[in-house]
Each structure stands twice: as structure tokens, then as C-alpha cells.
């Protein structure tokens, strides 16, 4: 019986020739990740075990959630992480001014790559499926144990195959693909399952599109969301990923529990209504929804290409007088490149606020909290009740084109409406 990509990576890391869905295994880990919210409790658990770190080059600590420190307690959390990193000589620790959002910088710096197995104490760790790795989110206890042992337990998931066909129309981005998929299968449509992408449509997707799509696999309940390795992957990882890697491809007779097809040529810009990422609606059909804030950034859409799309719409326009538009580059490198390309100037000329990389408003931490009754269009990945502030505020999820168009028009809009 053939194996899919997820099974191959898991088998390889468990030291087994083959695994099948449902099997419980212990795997060796290539990378272990935590942030300023999840590392401190993980460190507490780690210390209970009383062992050194398993490998100081295979742990990444990224203080991105409440940084630059939003309050005294958050400063304490960041300090705990910093001191731990120093004590154990953690190679991949990123200080403010050199940091970015974890799921933007790990692929960007080549810390994660094809065939690698990564766990992170952050649910959007599934992002690295875009570069043909297996990666998934865990909690702090798993993470604490992993930092000591370099291992974690897994149940081999069943898999769903998503076959992409057709050509991607103008102004359609990865966000439209994934929101459409979650709208089709539901927020628990892939519960406990692997999502594997396939089909000729994969070649239509840039690495930025793929990172956005894999990032939101968890929003369908998925354990991971993995893309095959192709020329686009090779071009992205070459020169970035330093250690040797081994890409994976599914066997011809790989087993999938379900197959879902998406014809990219049929996609239109979509938005997910509050309070679930699966409440997907075509923007063209929603009527007039006035908004108060737009957030462009996050681990979902905070990369250079995302900012380029937003800048394309905002260039020569002003943010609507009733709207606050906040743009947050996902990493220092993205910030710098966006400056060189003139995007930052475009944002500032349009009347947007541009911030240093941080998760900030995405999780309602700081840098753009919503008041009661306010509505935001956001390129982030979750629109749960209260996610961005007051419990009676609302978040609509969209890609950078729709978010930027909405910022200009003061209501949720498709990019073509900005003349």
C-alpha cells in the first residue's frame, strides 16, 4: 500500500519503513518552535524533567506575540524566553529589531525545509507544509518535553487530497483558495486529518500563496497542510535551507480518505464573516458592510508579495476617512524590502499606519484593538468572537487585495471597485 507525503515524513522520522493512519508513533524532531506566550510555560515543564536541551541548533524561540513588550507582564514573559535562550545557547533566538512573526521568519531564513518534521507551540506551525515539510502545532507540555528529548508522539492522521485545477484569475490569491476550501469542508472538515495539495493548479500558486494556504489548514481542523515539491519549492529553498533535505512525493497508490476539487479559474474574491473562518462569502454578493479598521499583515499575509498586492491597490489612493488602516510587515527583511520597493511610502502616503513586525492586533494583543461594535477587515486567519478586541467587535477575513480595496472605500469591496 502506498504512502502519502505526510505518512512518508512521519515514517522516516519514526525510523519505520511504513506507517498507516491511526498508528501511534514516536518521532524524532528536526525543529522545535515556541513564542513569547507559549515558551514560558514550556520552559516550566522542561525544567521539571531536569535535562539539558536536546540540541541547541534545533530549537527556535521567537518573541512575536506581545512584542515590543506591550505591558509589564508581557515584558516578564519575553525576559523568561531571553534568559532561557542565553542559558542554553539557543541558536535561533530572535531579539526585537531582528525578529519577525515566527511563521514568516522560519521559512524565510531556511530554518524549515522539505521533508523536515517540525512541531511548534503555536497552532499555525502547519505553515511549513508549503515548503514540503510536515509541521504541526502542539501545546507547551509537548514543547517542553520536545526541548529535552527531541521527540514527540503522533497519531498518523488520515488524509484529504485537495486537487487544484485551472488557471488563477487576476486578483485571486492564496487566501481566496483557502477560505473557499474551508467554506466547502467546514471548520472541522479536516479534523485530526492531513490536507495534501495536488493537481496541475499547484504550479499556479506562488510560494506566498502556498504559505497562506498551509497556514490556515488548522482553520479546517487539519493537523497539517502539505504541498508537493516542485520547481517553485526548489527555487524558494535553494540558498536558504542550509542543512541537507530530502523532499517527499506521494506514491501513486497513496491512500486518501476523501478527495476535494477546486477549479482555480472559478474563484472570486471571498471574505469570511464573523465568527468562523468557514463563513465564506463571495465579496460581490455581500452588499454594503461599512468598516472601521483594516489590518494587513500576520503569519497568513505578512510577506512581501502580500504587501505588494496591498500597495498595488492603495497606490494613488487614500484610506477612507472613517477607516484606520494598519500595515504590519511580517519580518525585518520584508519590512526592508517593502521600503526599497516603495510600498511603505505608498502606505504612508495613503494614510496608513506601518508598524514593526509583531502579531499585535491579530490576536487582540495590542496595536489595533477593536472597541465594542467595531468591524474590521483583516488579512489574519481567525475571526473568533473577541479575537481582535471587544467581544462585540467583528472581524472579516480576506486577502490583501480585498483588505486594501476595503480600506480605500470604507466598506468591504473587491479590488476592481477601486478606480
Amino acid at each position: 500500500m502506498g504512502m502519502n507525503m505526510t505518512e512518508k515524513i512521519l515514517a522516516r522520522h519514526a525510523g519505520l519503513d511504513a506507517v498507516t493512519a491511526g498508528q501511534l508513533i514516536f518521532c524524532r524532531l528536526d525543529m522545535v518552535l515556541a513564542n513569547d506566550v507559549t515558551a514560558p510555560p514550556a520552559i516550566k515543564e522542561f525544567e521539571k524533567i531536569g535535562r539539558p536541551v536536546f540540541d541547541n541548533t534545533k530549537i527556535a524561540l521567537v518573541p512575536d506575540h506581545f512584542t515590543p513588550n506591550k505591558d509589564i507582564k508581557a515584558a516578564g514573559l519575553a525576559k523568561t524566553v531571553r534568559e532561557f535562550a542565553k542559558k542554553h545557547s539557543i541558536k535561533n533566538y530572535f531579539e526585537i529589531g531582528r525578529v519577525g512573526i515566527e511563521h514568516v521568519i522560519l521559512p524565510e531564513k531556511g530554518i524549515v525545509g522539505p521533508g523536515m518534521l517540525t512541531i511548534g507551540a503555536d497552532s499555525h506551525t502547519c505553515t511549513y507544509g508549503a515548503v514540503n515539510g510536515f509541521s504541526t502545532g502542539v501545546g507547551s507540555t509537548d514543547l517542553g518535553v520536545a526541548m529535552a528529548t527531541g521527540e514527540a508522539w503522533f497519531k498518523v492522521p488520515k488524509a484529504i487530497k485537495v486537487v487544484l485545477t485551472g488557471k488563477k484569475p487576476k486578483h485571486i490569491c492564496g487566501k481566496d483558495v483557502i477560505l473557499t476550501l474551508i467554506g466547502m469542508i467546514g471548520v472541522d472538515g479536516a479534523l485530526y486529518k492531513a490536507i495534501e495539495f495536488a493537481g496541475e493548479g499547484v504550479a499556479e500558486l506562488t510560494m506566498t500563496d502556498r504559505l497562506t494556504i498551509s497556514n490556515m489548514a488548522i482553520e479546517a481542523g487539519g493537523k497539517n497542510g502539505i504541498f508537493p515539491f516542485d520547481d517553485i519549492t526548489r527555487e524558494y529553498v535553494e540558498g536558504r535551507v542550509q542543512q541537507p533535505y530530502e523532499a517527499v512525493a506521494p506514491d501513486e497508490d497513496a491512500v486518501y480518505e476523501r478527495v476535494v476539487e477546486i477549479d482555480l479559474s472559478q474563484l472570486t474574491p471571498v471574505v469570511a464573516f464573523p465568527h468562523l473562518p468557514g463563513n465564506t462569502h463571495p465579496v460581490a454578493e455581500i452588499g454594503e458592510i461599512k468598516i472601521d479598521q483594516v489590518v494587513i499583515g500576520s503569519c497568513t499575509n505578512g510577506r512581501l508579495e502580500d504587501l505588494q498586492q496591498a500597495a498595488e491597490i492603495l497606490r494613488g489612493h487614500n484610506v477612507h476617512p472613517d477607516v484606520r488602516c494598519i500595515v504590519i510587515p511580517g519580518s525585518q527583511q520584508v519590512y526592508l524590502e517593502a521600503m526599497k520597493a516603495g510600498y511603505v511610502e505608498t502606505f504612508i502616503n495613503a494614510g496608513a499606519a506601518v508598524s514593526t513586525p509583531t502579531c499585535g492586533p491579530c490576536l487582540g494583543a495590542h496595536m489595533g484593538i477593536l472597541a465594542a461594535g467595531e468591524k474590521a477587515v483583516s488579512t489574519t486567519n481567525r475571526n473568533f468572537r473577541g479575537r481582535m478586541g471587544h467581544v462585540d467587535s467583528e472581524v472579516y477575513l480576506a486577502g490583501p487585495y480585498v483588505a486594501a480595496a476595503s480600506a480605500v472605500l470604507g466598506r468591504i469591496a473587491v479590488p476592481e471597485e477601486v478606480k
Binding site: L24, K44, G137, L363, G364
Partner: protein, 166 residues
């Protein structure tokens, strides 16, 4: 372990932002988290969970309980509220792992969950997975935990398990 408790019933897709909002994640002190547990829920606003939960009360949710973030603060907040077990149709996977890893038993009973209402009294045996609804007389059986996951639960969580194992 057999226990009896009153039910706090919640719906489908209870997410971790509802269980413990991000604004409280600047602490991981269990008691502090418990004080804000379920604070943003639409349900039971007349008598909030945090202020009215009694030690031994059981939390019961619908489908995809615990979806969203990987924050272990969520099961920790529930456990620190005195809730000894959570029952749902099914759980989001990171929440499920975290529950097992911190020693909070989680039982999945699929659509049988519809036969449990807010305020019902349950008798739960976390080892066998047998659940009796003492209010209605219904009896349900949850899937037992598989393989070494049961050993992790028995050890009281992953840390103890690892310490015992190696």
C-alpha cells in the same frame, strides 16, 4: 476514577479564544486563568462560568471543542476551575493532545452528546469511559484512549510519563 458532577453545557466549535481570551495570556498562573475561563462565551451569561462553577462540575461541548490556538492555557484554565473531565462530540486535535498531556481527561461520545443538557447530573468513569446521565437515565460509552496515550493519562500527564519512562 468515578466522579459525579453537574453539567456546564456548551455548543459546537467552542474555540480557545472563548475558553481563555488572548488578553489574559500574559499570565500562565492556573488560578488567574481560571478566573477568566469562558469569559467571552455567549452561553450562560446570566450566571457566568468562572463565578459559578463548583469543583467537580463537568464541562460538555458539541463538535470540534477547543478549536483554534495551541494555547495550553485553555485546558489549564478549565482544569484549574475544578472541572475534572470534559466531554464533547469530538475535540480539536491540539486541545485534545494538550488535555492528555496536562492530565485533564477528555471523552468523545459523538452525537450522544445531544442527550446531555445544561444542569444535568452525570456520573463519569474516566478509566472505562462510561457516562451515566443521572438526570435522564441515559448511559453512554466513550472510546477508550488508545495505546500509550492511556499510559500518559495514567501517569497524570506527559511530564510524569517521560520521567517514569526514561
Amino acid at each position: 476514577m468515578s466522579l459525579e458532577g453537574k453539567v456546564w453545557r456548551y455548543g459546537d466549535n467552542i474555540d480557545t479564544d472563548v475558553i481563555i481570551p488572548a488578553r489574559y495570556l500574559n499570565s500562565f498562573e492556573p488560578k488567574e486563568l481560571a478566573a477568566h475561563c469562558m469569559e467571552d462565551s455567549d452561553e450562560h451569561q446570566e450566571a457566568s462560568f468562572a463565578a459559578n462553577v463548583a469543583a467537580g462540575d463537568v464541562m460538555v461541548g458539541g463538535r470540534n471543542f477547543g478549536c483554534g490556538s495551541s494555547r495550553e492555557h485553555a485546558p489549564v484554565a478549565i482544569k484549574a476551575s475544578g472541572v475534572p473531565v470534559v466531554i464533547a462530540a469530538d475535540f480539536a486535535r491540539i486541545f485534545y493532545r494538550n488535555g492528555i498531556n496536562i492530565g485533564l481527561p477528555l471523552l468523545e461520545i459523538g452525537s450522544d452528546v445531544e442527550k446531555i443538557s445544561h444542569g444535568d447530573k452525570l456520573r463519569v468513569d474516566t478509566a472505562t469511559g462510561m457516562i451515566e446521565n443521572l438526570t435522564t437515565g441515559d448511559v453512554f460509552h466513550a472510546q477508550p484512549l488508545p495505546g500509550f496515550v492511556q499510559d500518559i493519562a495514567k501517569a497524570g500527564g506527559l511530564i510524569n510519563y517521560i520521567k517514569e519512562k526514561r
